[in-house]
Every structure is written in C-alpha cells, then in structure tokens.
C-alpha cells in the first residue's frame, strides 16, 4: 500500500469518526442530556465553553475586590465575619469554575495568564467602585441577585462539569443576596443619612446590575448558538425582565426606590416595563474605560506576584519530600 493511500485512508477514518461523533453529540443535545469531558464535541462548542467558563471564573476572582475593600471597615465584628465568608465563597466559585474549564483541555496557568495579561474579559460590573458601606449591601442584593438569576439556569447547562460547578455556586449565592439585602434594610431603617446612603448605593448599582445580563437580544449574536447547544436556557432580555420583576417588590420592602422613571407595572404583559439602559456606558466600561478597570487589574497582578514566594516554597517542599521518600525507598532496596 502506498503512503498516499494510507494517508487518505486515515483521513477517511477521521471524517467518519467526526461524523459519528457529531451524530452522537446531536442526539445527546436533542435528548437534553449532558456532555461529559471525554465525549466528542464540536470545536466551536468547546471554544465557547472555555471562553464562557473562564470569563465566569475571572469574574468571581476580580469580583472579590470591591467588597474585600470594606472588610477592614465593616461596621461590626459580625458584619466583618459575614463579609469575609462571602468574599471567601467568591474565591471558591472561581476555583470550581477554573476546574470545570480545565476539563475542556485548557490549563489553569493559561487561563490565569490570560486574565493577568488583560486578554481575558470579566464581568464589567466589577469595574465599579464600592464607595460606601451601603454599596456592600447593594452589591450583595443586586449584583449577586443578578448573578443568581443568570446562574440558576446554568445548573442545567449541557456541559456537565459546568452544571455541577453551578449547582455548588448557586447553593452558596443565596446567602450573599440576603446578607446584602439585610445591610440595606438596616440602613433604610436607620437615620435619614443612613437611609440616603442606602438609596445612593441602589441608584448607582441598579443600571449596571441590569446590564449584567448582557446586551439586548438583538445585539447578542452568539446567544442563539449557545441556546441551541443548551448552554444558555433563556435570552438576555428574558433574564433581565425576570430580575426586574423580582427586585421591584424587594425594593418596596426595603422602603427604597429604583432609579428608573419608566418603571411601571404593565397589566397586559404581566411584567414591569423599564427604561432604556445606557449601553454606550456599558460598551465603554467593557473596553477598559470604567472607573476601576486599571485598578482591578493592577491589584490582581500584585496579588499574584506577592503570592509567588508561597507557591515556590510549597513546590520546593513537595519536591524535597518526594526526593526523601525516594531516597528512603532506594536505601530500603539496597538494605534488603
């Protein structure tokens, strides 16, 4: 058999395997079942997931910063402990998600480098500052609240490791949202100045929180494919609408208002109508011009560099122990 025909035999076998793989993949998706790491999957599916899951992980990691900024200034020991637990949870969420992304064949180191080099994106909400203690409340209620709205359907994402990570994340998130809401409730029931501080925080975070669901459906070209792959279950606008419907009564219970003059109940639709969001600002923040983009990246790089000696020491220790064990085993062999 000539080399050329061997090549073409191999090529034919590849095409065949590809076709069988695609067919099996399509069947699994059509049955709304789950894809596991070692299953065949289309290159685009893998690429989309790596991008989405790693961006999600980066968002959890960068998302620690606005609130961690308040740990030393929390108004009581109880609040300090709660806030530390929440920020620690966010680190955990980042790690669950990096692990899920790694099952797709992209290394942790590569993802971390993409974040540090500024090549990878993270949720633009974290480029806004936490200016007051009330902002910590608004972030928990609105930002974690919007995240939950996004993440609950992701528990059923077709890529199984992503879904499993989201189940863990969602279990932990509900405390984040409630503790934030309670911070605002306490302030709202406090002095007029405290109530005003809570209202200011809500005024600043309302719009950016609604934008966490991404651009309007008409401007979100990749959503269709993600929905066809059962990664995404609801469109950006659907999720945004659910979120608005959820927070209006929650704001009323707080005794605070939402900064949107167009917000009103629409009897016919059975939903709240709300005003146009500032998408120019959204795009500008994504492009790097938000109030804290530079600061967030700089802080992450410094944290990574400052932790280098710990990683080096741990690796050196592990290596030494492994060598000692090996030496002991060798000595034992010689002795015997």
């Amino acid at each position: 058999m000539s080399t050329t025909s061997q090549h073409s035999d191999a090529a034919v076998a590849d095409i065949e395997a590809e076709r069988a793989g695609q067919q099996r993949f399509d069947e699994i998706i059509a049955a709304d079942s789950r894809i596991e790491p070692r299953d065949w999957m289309p290159a685009g599916y893998r690429k989309t997931l790596v991008r989405q899951i790693s961006q999600h992980a980066h968002s959890e990691i960068i998302g620690m910063q606005p609130e961690a900024n308040w740990i030393t200034r929390a108004p009581s020991l109880k609040r300090k402990m709660i806030l530390m637990a929440k920020v620690q949870d966010e680190a955990g969420h980042g790690l669950y998600l990096y692990s899920a992304a790694e099952t797709l064949g992209t290394s942790r180191e590569e993802m971390v480098q993409q974040l540090l080099s500024g090549k990878a994106k993270y949720s633009s909400i974290f480029n806004y500052p936490a200016r007051s203690w009330a902002d910590v409340g608004a972030i928990g209620w609105l930002v974690d609240g919007a995240a939950i709205q996004n993440q609950v359907p992701l528990c059923r994402a077709s890529y199984a490791p992503y879904g499993r990570a989201m189940v863990r994340v969602c279990k932990e998130e509900s405390f984040h949202q409630r503790q934030g809401w309670e911070i605002l409730l306490e302030l709202s029931n406090g002095t007029p100045e405290q109530k005003q501080m809570a209202q200011d925080a809500v005024n600043r975070f309302y719009g950016p929180a609604l934008q966490m669901f991404g651009p309007p459906d008409d401007d979100s070209p990749n959503s269709q494919q993600s929905m066809a792959w059962n990664i995404k279950r609801f469109s950006n606008d659907e999720l945004r609408q659910r979120f608005v419907d959820m927070i209006v009564p929650q704001a009323e219970a707080l005794g605070l208002t939402l900064p949107d003059p167009d917000l009103k109940w629409n009897e016919e639709r059975g939903h709240y109508d709300f005003g146009e969001l500032d998408w120019d600002e959204f795009m500008s923040v994504i492009k790097g011009n938000g109030p804290c983009n530079v600061q967030r990246m700089q802080h992450r790089r410094e944290a990574h560099e400052n932790g280098a000696w710990v990683r080096e020491a741990a690796a050196a220790y592990a290596e030494k122990q492994a060598r000692r064990q090996q030496d002991a085993a060798d000595a034992h062999l010689i002795g015997a």
Binding site: E36, R38, D39, W40, A85, Q88, D89, G92, L95, Y96, S99, E102, S107, R108, E109, Q113, R164, A165, R168, E172, A308, R311, E312, A314, A315, Y317, A318, Q321, A322
Partner: protein, 98 residues
C-alpha cells in the same frame, strides 16, 4: 520561574463523606503541590459549610476509567437480562411480602 512551578502542581480529585454511614462522593478537583496541601485545600474549598466528616484526595492521573467511545460494548452485558431485576417476576402480584 514562578509560573512554571505553579503549572507543575498536579491536579487532585476530591471525595467527601457528608456524614457517617455514607460513601465518599466526588466533589470536584483542585491543584496542590502535595497530598497534605491537597487535603487542606480540599477542606477549605469543599467543606466550608459542614459538608464533610471525611475527605479523600487522589492524584487525577492515577484514576483509570472506561473509554467513553466504547460505552455500548463495555456495558452491553446487562441488556436483555431483565431477569436480574425483581420487577421481571410478576406472577406473585397480590401475594404479600414477596
């Protein structure tokens, strides 16, 4: 140098026993330089809310698994052997405790 050291940390699979009497169940994975650190990290990452009374870690590359592509062949034998299930035997219907 730092980065290559970090990259060489192996991946560990984490198994957590949620309470006495139950099996250890796979919880997820993590990177750590050695088994001691893997256990500590697993405790911090997977048992922050009393999820565990015991944790196992093992290097991911020491796990052997069945080939997902040969699923049919590998797991074929139970097919057509319904008689291994109690539901196959229906004549005792109405007879108690059987």
């Amino acid at each position: 140098m730092t980065e290559s050291l970090n990259a060489s940390w192996p991946l560990w699979e984490v198994f957590v026993r949620s309470s006495r009497g139950l099996s250890h169940v796979h919880a997820g994975s993590l990177h750590a330089p050695d088994a001691t650190m893997a256990l500590r990290n697993a405790r911090d990452l997977y048992t922050r809310r009393n999820e565990g009374t015991s944790v196992w870690v093992m290097p991911s590359d020491s796990i052997s698994s069945s080939d997902p592509d040969s699923k049919g062949g590998f797991f074929e034998s139970p097919q057509g052997k319904d008689f291994r299930h109690a539901t196959y035997y229906t004549k005792s219907e109405g007879v108690k405790h059987l």
